[in-house]
């Protein structure tokens, strides 16, 4: 029964014209880095006075593509679809039509979540594949496929957490524009707070020359430095910190796990209690 519902939700999501549009954009976008690299490759770049020959592998193409994808583009798509699937369906009453059926609220909610994860996966595999093919075609060399794929995998985890987070916001505000604004507000708050923490951290060496080592202000600055990797923005961007050797900032990953679980709890309880018009 639940598998039937999950199947229905996935089909519904992928039948949306906007979903297809997003995937086409992602596919085209994945061609960009290969093209750019083809243009500049063979040229040289001045670094510290030394001319360095620019050469790339498919690994670079895939890495650039991932950065491009993750820089706003995909997150914006994800926010839009999550908002449409939850707040949107609440508003246009199609949620009601599912809930008059003999299903639990949890099944209706989590099958929607799984459908979103299918989109996340499609939105990762597509750029991965397109940039791999384009990269090999342009550069003829593969590079370290495993390392860059690890970054894609880390992105998957981050997107999973992010979509859960947006889902919770969407259920709390119950409006599509509200979800977008709400997510943006969180992002702004996170940014300001992050800057504040960063400022404290940056001032530390300066302050340390002025006050005693056991001064409370030094402790505060240390806390700020320790806190920063825990910020949601760091958690959602933790794929950036996964290096070629597979190392990562554990705090950000732990933070991601905490945010995901909390969002899931908020979403579940909100949805169970939701009055559906």
């Amino acid at each position: 029964m639940t598998t039937l519902i999950i199947g229905a939700e996935i089909r519904k999501l992928f039948r949306r014209p906007i979903t297809m549009f997003f995937l086409v954009v992602l596919g085209l976008m994945a061609l960009g880095p290969a093209g750019m690299q083809a243009l500049v490759s063979g040229g040289s770049m001045e670094t510290n006075g030394n001319a360095e020959l620019l050469s790339f592998t498919a690994q670079d193409t895939m890495a650039w593509t991932l950065t491009l994808r993750n820089f706003l583009v995909f997150r914006l798509f994800l926010i839009t679809l999550a908002a449409m699937t939850l707040a949107g369906e609440f508003r246009n009453r199609t949620l009601r039509e599912d809930l008059v059926r003999p299903v639990s609220r949890d099944a209706a909610l989590w099958s929607r979540w799984i459908a979103l994860q299918a989109f996340v996966l499609a939105g990762l595999v597509l750029p991965w594949l397109v940039s791999l093919v384009a990269g090999v075609a342009v550069h003829g060399e593969l590079g370290d496929l495993g390392a860059v794929t690890r970054n894609y995998a880390a992105t998957w985890l981050a997107d999973m957490g992010f979509s859960t987070f947006v889902m919770a916001i969407s259920l709390l505000v119950k409006s599509v524009p509200g979800t977008v604004v709400g997510t943006f507000m969180y992002w702004l708050l996170d940014l300001v707070f992050g800057l504040f923490l960063w400022g404290l951290e940056a001032l530390k060496p300066l302050v340390e020359t002025q006050v005693a080592a056991d001064d409370p202000i030094v402790g505060l600055m240390q806390t700020a430095a320790a806190l920063r990797p825990w910020l949601p923005s760091q958690a959602f961007n933790f794929y950036q910190n996964v290096n070629d050797a597979g190392g990562f900032v554990w705090q950000s990953m732990a933070s991601l796990a905490v945010i995901t679980v909390l969002s899931a709890l908020v979403a579940t309880t909100t949805f169970r209690r939701l009055d559906v018009p």
């Binding site: 199947g7 039948r15 008059v100 059926r101 003999p102 209690r273």
Partner: protein, 307 residues
């Protein structure tokens, strides 16, 4: 056999406003139950509670003796205007609903064919719902409500917004579902003639409370005593002579002001159409027409709602 629907002490408030107040009602298998009440009386709210769409502050809802989400497998519902995924076809929308009903695509396909044919959408099922008229959506909504082979249909104003032809079709469909398929129906409506023609039982609510509940026939027979005497509408060229003859003959008790040449009269106890005609014949009064003014469902409704 357990009742199709039992609602006991159902209460729901929005903020400080009690919208459904200690509501009791019972729909028996085979009933076509008409749920009536003025705008804002709480009909839709009560139906949403029955379907578990909104929380209830107090009370119990039992569907064929069961409670909880699984009990809804007995129920097909259409609340207000049915909503669809506009980017999918009518058929795809039904396939989506079928999955929620636990039907595999293979089981669902022939059922969907049958239902589309039944609501007259056989040809249009392959089109996107965004291109459907209101009437088509309403019919698709009924098809969707029937997907799980329900025993009870919950319909909130099923003919709302339909043209006269559409209304008649919808009414015929509901009647056929009840008579031929043995479905129990719980429907809300503002159209009293529709309710009178269709329903076996009615409940009339006002401000969230049940005012009158019973068989339509019972309520109709009970009404004249409460509302007043039977009336006749007479059309004549000589109203004065006619009035005099009937009053003196003890056939009528009162005459109400009417348009010139018309008399609306209250019949006296024991008088009826034939006795009035006889009295008129004796008096030699000329009457162009006599029409009995029937007490109907509107009176039952008004009485319940105005009290």
């Amino acid at each position: 056999m357990s009742s199709a629907l039992v609602v006991k002490g159902l209460t729901r408030s929005y903020g400080s406003r009690v919208v459904v107040d200690q509501l009791d009602l019972r729909v028996e298998p085979g009933d076509i139950y008409g749920f009536l009440g003025p705008n804002g009386a709480g009909k839709t709210t009560a139906m949403r509670c029955v379907l578990g769409l909104i929380r209830r502050d107090a009370g119990e809802v039992t569907l064929f003796g069961e409670t909880g989400p699984r009990a809804r497998r007995h129920v097909g519902a259409m609340i207000e205007t049915p909503a669809f995924h506009l980017w999918m076809t009518g058929r795809q929308n039904l396939e989506h609903a079928a999955a929620y009903e636990g039907l595999r695509p293979k089981e669902a396909a022939p059922l969907i064919d049958r239902l589309l044919a039944r609501v007259g959408l056989k040809e249009r099922g392959k089109e996107k719902v965004s291109g459907y008229s209101l009437g088509m959506k309403q019919r698709l909504g009924i098809a969707r409500a029937l997907l799980g082979s329900p025993r009870l249909l919950v319909l909130d104003e099923p003919t709302n917004g339909l043209d006269p032809d559409g209304m008649v079709q919808m009414r015929d469909l509901i009647r056929s579902l009840a008579r031929n398929d043995g479905l129990t129906v719980f429907l809300s409506s503002h159209l009293l003639s529709e309710v009178q023609a269709l329903c076996t039982r009615v409940g009339i609510i006002k401000e969230g409370r049940m005012q009158v509940e019973g068989l339509v026939s019972e309520l109709l027979s009970g009404v004249s005593a409460k509302v007043g005497p039977e009336q006749l509408l007479l059309v004549t060229a000589s109203p004065e002579a006619l009035e005099k003859a009937l009053l003196e003959g003890g056939q009528i008790t009162a005459v109400h002001a009417q348009r010139p040449g018309e008399l609306l009269v209250d019949l006296a106890e024991g008088a009826h159409l034939a006795s009035v005609m006889a009295a008129l014949g004796e008096a030699g009064a000329l009457v162009q027409s006599v029409t009995p003014v029937k007490r109907d469902f509107e009176d039952v409704y008004m009485e319940a709602v105005r009290s």
